[in-house]
Symmetry: D2
Subunit: 509 residues, 4 copies
């Protein structure tokens, strides 16, 4: 039985509903020197428009800020902003502010040699906290000189990344992390107490770090301006070359993880502390094909719709496949995190974000499969989704498609109805790439074909309201997301006489 | 009953089949100073790619080449190439050569005051043939100086426009036209006998002018390098403000008109004279909505497919709606000749030309509803069409849709099948504009919506051949044109083990 | 003897000093459809940045707003905004607001046939004031619908152009003009009383019109929001073909004309009425070579420097040579009003405006030959000029060059001194064009040479202040304008040891 | 005494004189993914236009072509062309072909761990020559598939880089190099014997390698298609942090080194073997400020003028400062090899190349300080230069400036003379940067100032020939290069009467 969802004329939900736009993740910062990266980011900003961007590697040696040298038997330090200026200039040009992650350790300042990723980020504490503080001072001071204090005061500073994992922080040593935090926040606040600094940027699995961290700050009187964590919903990864499969928990598990930040804050001395989910996605693996699918889009729709209820921001990891944590991608589609592949092919999840970018204005209704708004120009827009696991389908559990009827308050004028759809067949670049024979290094012609053939399907119609309402029956196929926009029409058909479209194409001798 | 059309492996047709690309028409030349015009032409050239462009007004006073002035009681002449340089530079930049139409008469050189069009082109003979020859000499000499002799030798010069109509040539005076022709060709050939000069550029209704013209040339030993005429298939126009309806004869009538050139030449002293159809369209009226329809596209498909059999070129009148013969257009869609409206909205006939631009290579098959080629990269492409008059439909005569089965020789590899479709519902900017309430002066947002919603519908699939062939069943709705491209696939699925798309989106806790 | 001008540390002058930027003139509005025009305007806006633009022809038939047609024996009216939308969209895209001139008369609404200019602007009163009011209502209402009320409230509406000349207003009939004004202002204010409406837009020679106009408004209770007039400093024109020479009164005569507006207002019932000089230049003739010269730049420098003291705006007539009042220009340099020639060659007066665009911030000093500011970044900038008439020079009256010494308060740090110069030899496209043989229709290579060879000459130096001051000795050649910018240096020479530029290029085996 | 150099009317020199344009060097290939790099290369190609580009790192792991992985206990290999496709696509888009350097060793294929440069290129032989041959086969085959055989046949393949240095090839082991060469050339020629393969790409200091290499090829019947070497003219480097000074031998020493290739070839079994100088510059150090100076430009002028006499190509090392051999540059000007700094600031040597790009056509004269041509359009162009060592100047040895008089055969028409100059004061970005206080990380405003203030100085004049000749007296300041172009003028001054520039700016009341 199809139930009709009746959308109210005015929203009752007071929360902002575009926290999904607040921040997006990126591969390590030095990649932002690349043209492909910047073209991808420009496209994302033009069509979606995030506010902040966060990635690793600010202090890594390929950005090269910290540089020591010997002269007459002594070690001196030179700070080098040649590359970071290019990178942050580029972000700001594209309307993005840095969500600054402080890390990893410059080799010359590292206390040990442990690294993470193919690109070898050093994950050890500084060997000299004095030099570390000097470095932090120099970096933030340079930002202030180049971009102005008022601007930099709007950039959050997050200390390190996932220190609760020994991959990312030597021995996952909590006490050492707290020391690093204290020294770093001290160096930053000495420049201006108005800077926003936070942590502990943990991944899941040891959520108690949040409690420990806030207790530490409180007891040691160390400033903290926000709490941050990550959230992924995938299980352990399988083990084939160049790809990984994982089980994916339902979207609610992501929302639950998002919510833990405010829960821990609420039980701490900082009950109103802002919470940022500084990374999230389904899988935490950069070679899991799930990122390329319509499933991923349909699966995350509820998270984008509701995540803002429980966190100030949640940052999709990452905006494009220019990314090298597990070495250089070996084929166009390779399960990368990106909304875009290399060369700007849009994945289904890109369209999810682009669809959400149309859901501005007043929130009228929200449920597990629907998000409806009235926009400032009077039009109504809705997003519907229908995610389904492969195993459910293969086991006969999930329906191939689902139909929903929605009654929409559109006013008395006829409405122009525009529907855009992405699912496993249409609007799906991964499918087209598979149909083309999975070309590893596509020619330019193939890239053009993939792009042309994977634009969301569009259909249009005119509907006449009854009692100020239009009833839409929407059928969504498996893993479909669909955006419907209903815009009141002002009929400008000519006032001069005689127009009759039936006469246009008449036969004659 | 659906008959299967079996396409041969190799073409037997020796004729070139892209004469449709040879030339395109334009509003008067001074419009080529405008940005909207040039942006439209750039789009046309990028996606279609014509070779020549022809329009009125080279010698009209808004291009301003001929300028006389009085000094000390005498009249002197100054030639002014300020604007024509801008115009021809722009054409050549876009890969187009001028198909030069010599006309209309500069007011200061005119023998009388009769004009044609809102923009008042003077249609009278020169009052002084000496000054006329000087003008022609100056113009062609300037072209040679600016662009080089070798280049200008490739530009045809057509003398005047439709002199068999009194609207376009005072009293439709044939003897005076022949005089004009003789004087003009003389002035041009004096510069270099290699220039190509022709006429009489007549419209239909007095085809005997072609015989008269060739006889005149022969008898008077006046050089002639090509014969030219126009062809439209519409009847008399109705009479409502700002729009006109007309009956349209079947496409074969256009092909018949095209063919008359070679017939007349064949019976003349110049049996192998090249023939150019320097204007054609369904309706000759710039405010007939037929130009905006899918009907127009489906109707002209056969003409584009077969016109090259009977003429060297046939020039669609015109590439865009920047056009002012009946005053300034009063609404976005207004029945203009253009492939594009103002602001580069693509009409269905634009897509017809863009589809034909994909039909390169060897012609395998052609019939009343089908055009099939094998391209240099081994792919096969076909265009199918299904035109239907409104009255047939309204009278129950024509089927709403038609199905054709085609057996295509594609080789042994699987093929990627890409289909693009334009009909009365999809790929149809006129329909979307009607749905939007026929906005006369659309906002930018409306223009964007029209463009987004009127791209041809795309679908993709993979087909496995049997015996080197794929059988396609194509259903075409009313006034549909559809392009199908079948490209052999090279499967690059990974050689490393374990890939299994069924595992990508599995549920977990 | 060279006198040293000592510039004070802080400015005492409270007046804004960028009224020169408030508005610029343009050829008739329909020219704004052209690419050359728009490329020129984009350049002007990027490097200079005006706020408003004013030109003739809003209601002229080549913009085509007013359109009547007959149907069943009656005349109906259709308003057509196809072109004006393109034009105003383009202005607003470039950061310019329209300074709306209401005129000339659509032919179908004209009471008579008198026209002005090559392009035949009808200068007669409406034959039906009811239809006129309807037209005004339709136009302003359309602007409000397309651009929003708040935006359009910032656009001044000036009624007609130079009605005190019979060329521009039939019989220069003052009573009829007042009627037109009353009807028009009434139609506009009926939409919103906040619109700004003014007149009488007179040219010189009958300044009493200003008094008459204000008295009329007062006595008849007709609203008036600003007073407007024009100012040119040239005498009667000579008479050779395609060029005109005129005597040019000193710059003070322009400033005196500017000042008359406030004088008349001060003696009226509207003592604080804003005054706009809606056109000004040296010569009022669009074929006087003076517009192409360094003289024109040096001559107008004082006017730009001081004009803001006596008027809210003064609008240079015009920003580029895309202009057809005396027919189509017959050669690249032809004495047009433009800051730019066709194809964006910068004339000396362009550089004057571009130099003034650097004179932002606090005004420190101003005299007959100097304008000095301190900018927000702490740098000091000065413009100096040295205009000289040809006849003075030929008669031995004016010195070939002039030297001025200026003591500038720059602070204690060393300053980087950058000087840019335009005079009769350098930075002078007219001179280069003459050297090239005055090519009438330059090739692209010649245009490139002219542009490359006519950039202002640049020189740089470092100066060490004494007592916070640097003393500059500036020599200005005949008709030179020179911009000097002095920026405090922060020395970042490396702290690491050993740098020695003397060692860089040493010889070896 | 000033001697007049009399330039002959026709050239007698038969050699091509644009070998300087044949090839240019680049930082390692992976840098070609970067935007700054590509913008720099686009500028270089637009204004200079090289034909080939050569750099290190094709097989380095940051391009990532060779990739092995373990599966079920065995090692498998995957070739990954994701990045190299981007890189070579970009080169070809810019009109550049790769001059392919085969090297360095992928870590997974290396026999040992020795590396060179900050970016750690592995310089050891392959641990398995079978896998090496497979790799070479895969790489060249991929190029052929992507770009076509005919294209790739035009790309030279040079085996390794400077194997005569132990920094670049483990132990500088000649026998091992010859083995590498044999295996590599074998793998390439097996695909098509038409490929061009060569070596030994040595640097100076052990020129006998050329003899050894050719003898090896001859005796072992190993194919060789060209001989290659490098040439730098600097002595040992000093030792201060972040900069190095060196003595520079005269330009003739570079030409002598260039000439050794043909000398060795001439004495070998391959007397006509093409010779490529695949790297050259004054200093071989990427932190020597000499690269930033006018000295470098003036010093290399003779080399560019005459190098083509003794080698097929000589490749300037490198086109821009995006380069990391000694880590990331620490300041805008840092002595990098580039013609351009980061952010596209042009160094004096850039202008040298850009000036040479104007010296097309017939070579009329060449000496130690002069290069004169007649171009296809009839114009004459000359480059003059005046290099001087710092120590000569400081010791009073070299004159501050030098004057030369040149008699040029220009024909009978007046000529337009355009002179562009770069020296230690003008056209010199390094000087402006020093004047600005050597900003290490310039703001965008500073970058703009540097660019604006360092364009070559331009002056123009008209000269009337005597006897078909113009005599130019040119004074060149220290380390000046100056380009003079003399173009015959066609005088188009108006034929209509009355033009008199003396009347333009006359005073009036």
């Amino acid at each position: 039985m199809v139930v009709t969802v009746v959308i109210p004329v005015a929203g009752t939900h007071s929360a902002s509903h575009d926290a999904w736009r607040e921040c997006v993740g990126t591969g390590r910062l030095s990649l932002a020197l690349r043209r492909d990266y910047l073209e991808s980011l420009a496209l994302v900003q033009k069509e979606i428009g995030f506010r902040y961007i966060r990635g690793h590697g600010l202090l890594h040696d390929d950005v090269g800020i910290y540089r020591d040298y010997e002269w007459e038997g002594e070690i001196h330090v030179l700070y080098n902003f040649t590359y970071i200026d290019r990178i942050f200039d580029a972000f700001l040009d594209l309307g993005l502010k840095p969500f600054v992650e402080i890390g990893f350790m410059p080799e010359a300042l590292a206390s040990s040699t442990e690294t993470v990723f193919w690109w070898k980020g050093n994950v050890t504490p500084p060997k000299d906290y004095g030099r570390w503080r000097d470095l932090i001072h120099a970096v933030v001071t340079h930002f202030v000189e180049r971009y102005g204090l008022q601007e930099v005061l709007t950039w959050p500073f997050e200390i390190w990344n996932e220190p609760n994992l020994s991959n990312f922080w030597k021995d996952a040593d909590q006490a050492e992390y707290f020391k690093l935090y204290r020294e770093t926040v001290g160096a930053i606040k000495a420049i201006d107490p108005g800077f926003q600094v936070g942590g502990p940027a943990i991944c899941g699995g040891s959520d108690h770090w949040m409690a420990d961290f806030l207790r530490f700050c409180d007891e040691e009187s160390v400033p903290v301006d926000f709490l941050s964590r990550h959230a992924y919903s995938s299980g352990p990864r399988g083990s084939i070359p160049f790809a990984a499969y994982q089980e994916i928990a339902p979207p609610e598990s992501l929302l639950r993880d998002f919510a833990t930040g405010r829960e821990y804050a609420g039980r701490s001395a900082y009950p109103n502390l802002p919470v940022h989910i500084t990374e999230f996605n389904s899988s935490y693996t950069s070679i899991n094909p799930v990122h390329d699918t319509a499933f991923n889009a349909a699966y995350l729709a509820k998270v984008l719709s509701q995540g803002g209820d429980v966190a100030e921001s949640f940052s999709y990891w990452t905006f494009c496949d220019v990314f090298e944590e597990e070495n250089i991608p070996t084929t166009l589609f390779h399960g990368g995190f990106g909304l875009l592949t290399h060369q700007q092919v849009k994945k289904p999840t890109y369209h999810l974000y682009e669809f959400f970018a149309h859901l501005t204005g007043e929130l009228l209704h929200r449920d597990d499969n629907l998000h409806v708004v009235r926009r400032d120009d009077g039009s109504v827009a809705l997003l519907a989704w229908n995610y389904a696991y492969d195993d459910e389908v293969h086991d006969g559990g999930a329906p191939a498609s689902r139909t929903v009827t929605v009654s929409l308050p559109v006013g008395d004028a006829n409405v122009f109805v525009k529907r855009r759809t992405v699912n496993e067949q249409v609007g799906n670049s991964w499918t087209v790439w598979q149909q083309l024979g999975r070309p590893r290094f596509p020619t330019r012609e193939q890239i053009a074909v993939i792009k042309e053939c994977s634009a969301p399907a569009v259909s249009t119609a005119v509907r006449e309201p009854t009692g100020g309402r239009v009833e839409l029956e929407l059928t969504l196929s498996r893993n479909e997301i669909t955006l419907v926009e209903l815009t009141p029409i002002r009929d400008e058909s000519p006032s001069y006489p005689g127009l009759d479209d039936r006469k246009v194409a008449r036969s004659g001798a």
